[in-house]
Symmetry: C2
Subunit: 406 residues, 2 copies
């Protein structure tokens, strides 16, 4: 007997037929004698439609009301799934976020889970009852509905698995696992049987869409064994585990890319203390996330150039903020370019191997791809290149690091 | 300054454009200095669609889960309306049934409101905030979501008006008031400026769809001044009030009809004590409501015939129940007929006037319409006739009682 959490995304519950399929998978786990909590998303497209209502209602809106609107989608699927499970003879009940409760802070639209009270769910496990929990939502200290941001159901699932001390958290989605790269552009990409928390975290933050980044952080912190698998096929998926559970570790596990980048360059910035703070402070105040940063070293001048990246969505606002600072910052030109892509090479094996970055640079150079910005971490090297090279860069690196499937 | 409850039905909030119209009406009341609580339905068609999901999920289903599913529709409109009101500069927040809370019994799918805690809403009235409340739903003692049955938002509105001790409860709908008969079949029907609680109650229970029956009961009990009016036009609508507020009382105020009737006749029922109980007891146990009942008097025989009506939806089940009782009841034939209509003449003036029923019978006789069953109350006479005579019967009676508009 095991205690498991099963999460099903929007495409897995897009219609009644698929909800029946999901119910069959849950029943199979129950029949194996397992205790099961299910975390469920809204039907595919529903959350977007609800968010559109809010967007069309007003230019700026109260995020507390937005949360009331968009959280209704999971309510529908949770109730329907409970009905279908009961129809299959499986004892089940739906749990809305506020009923459990899943307590969050009050950052509406992007709230963080603070605590999940699993007392009653555990009690009902003893009676063989399946808990069908609405993903993506919780309740704040004022008793108002909160949502966890896009992909928030992954967070709900992993946090619930941690609270339940579950043996496994199965994330059912429309792909059958985590791949060495995006199979839509790298035909030779292959599925990984296992990947470490650290690698998965980098992959998620560097553009792989299979798991929400925060959910991987929580899994890593609480050592939740997460499995990513298809809700439509029978396969073992990809297990996300501790490094010591992986016997033969490849140096590089994956190549990711993110098109959601835009580059900003400020030329002739006076090279004096506080110059960087004068730029990035106001951007942070405007809630604009800055990712990669390079500052040109000025050897024979008292001016420098600063280049950095923001998300494409934030570009316009960032430019506006910086234009307002032209007089105080005394920079020369403000250049911006949305046609860039960030390509990353990720692998825990890098820690113990040298030359990984060098191979990346030489591979791109051989293809005539100019590197605009570089940033590195212990297990990752990212470069910014022109967007038109995306496919070429990713495929070349996939081959160069020996990841192509036989 | 007045304290009012404004209820808007599904057609009034069918899309964003209409929700903006609704918000404008609310703002007008706020600008008049009034304290406003709004009760809102799901967008037209949404509740039906959600109920369909449940129906298609399983033949029999847990009504607690049904309630979770169908209650989501009002959640969406409440959040959107709060956003639109704020956009107009009106302070507003949404309240879900469980947040207030609106406490009900646990008769899921058809729950009764037991108590509404209005403390916080009243406190926020003092700050000028509008309360946007989800209609149709509440929470039971176990903390599970309940719904109040079809038309339940009318009940929510009137019960909230009673709890708030509101001066008025305005029910905004797609018609501009209560008519002497259904304008779709009686072109000469006219709007009533005022109608008594008793008449409205009979009209609602005898087929007029403008207000939910239970909501009228609650209004009558708590003496809530209810006004029915259009959300699309500016008109004073119809005020539902105490009898003594109506100076010139017509003898008959309205002619209603209900096609949702089916007739069952049992012939040659042994005329002995307990025969009726033997029939109606098992029907009640099967939750089948029986409306009109006639028992033929047996003069020269120890057998009798019993005829009664049920709703069309219950006919098949009722027949099944009675067929199972054939041996114990020892009746002769079981006849059923779904092609019947109940036509009713309603008016508090009947109490002090004789000949009202006689005029009904003679009017129908003149048109060659055969009366199958008769039932009466203090302020109503109902007859069951063949469905094909619906329009003819209603129009003839409307003329006969002098209700035709000039």
């Amino acid at each position: 007997m095991a205690r498991i959490v099963m999460k099903f995304g929007g495409t897995s519950v897009a219609d009644l037929e698929r909800i029946r399929n999901v119910a069959g998978r849950i029943k199979a786990e129950v029949d194996r004698g397992n205790q099961v909590a299910v975390v469920i998303s809204a039907m595919a497209g529903v959350t977007n439609q609800l968010a559109d209502y809010a967007d069309q209602s007003a230019e700026l809106y109260d995020l507390r009301e937005y949360d009331v609107v968009v959280s209704s989608g999971e309510q529908v699927t949770a109730g329907i799934l409970a009905i279908v499970l009961q129809d299959l003879g499986v004892s089940a009940r739906s749990w809305l976020g506020w009923q459990i409760p899943i307590r969050t802070n009050d950052a509406h639209g992007n709230a963080r889970i603070e605590d999940i009270d699993v007392t009653e769910i555990l009690r009902r496990f003893d009676d063989g009852q399946v808990a069908v929990v609405t993903g993506f939502q919780g309740i704040d200290a004022q008793g108002r509905v909160t949502t966890l941001g896009r992909g928030g159901s992954d967070i709900s699932a992993v946090a619930l698995a941690a609270a339940l001390d579950a043996e496994r958290c199965d994330i059912h989605t429309d792909v059958d696992g985590v791949y060495t790269s995006d199979p839509r552009i790298v035909a030779k990409a292959h599925k990984l049987d296992r990947v470490t928390y650290e690698e998965m975290l980098e992959m998620a933050s560097q553009g792989a869409k299979v798991l929400q980044t925060r959910s991987v952080e929580i899994a890593m912190k609480h050592r939740v064994r997460v499995r990513v698998l298809s809700s439509f096929e029978n396969s073992s998926g990809t297990l996300i585990v501790d490094e010591d559970e992986i016997v033969e570790q490849a140096i590089v596990s994956g190549i990711t890319y993110s098109r959601d980048e835009a580059k900003i360059t400020l030329t002739r910035v006076p090279d004096r203390p506080g110059a960087a703070a004068g730029i990035f402070g106001p951007l942070a105040e405007a809630a604009i996330n800055v990712d990669m940063i390079v500052q040109n070293v000025s050897v024979d001048s008292d001016e420098t150039g600063i280049t950095f990246t923001v998300t494409k969505a934030d570009l316009e606002r960032a430019v506006k903020v910086l234009e307002g600072l032209r007089d105080s910052l005394e920079y020369g030109d403000l250049l911006s370019d949305p046609n860039v892509v960030k390509v990353s090479v990720i692998g825990v094996g890098m820690r113990s191997h040298v030359g990984v970055a060098q191979k990346m640079f030489s591979t791109l150079a051989e293809k005539g791809i100019n590197i605009q910005v570089i940033s590195t971490s212990e297990i990752k090297v990212s470069v910014l290149v022109a967007e038109e090279y995306t496919e070429l860069a990713v495929r070349s690196l996939h081959s160069a690091y020996g990841l192509d499937a036989a």
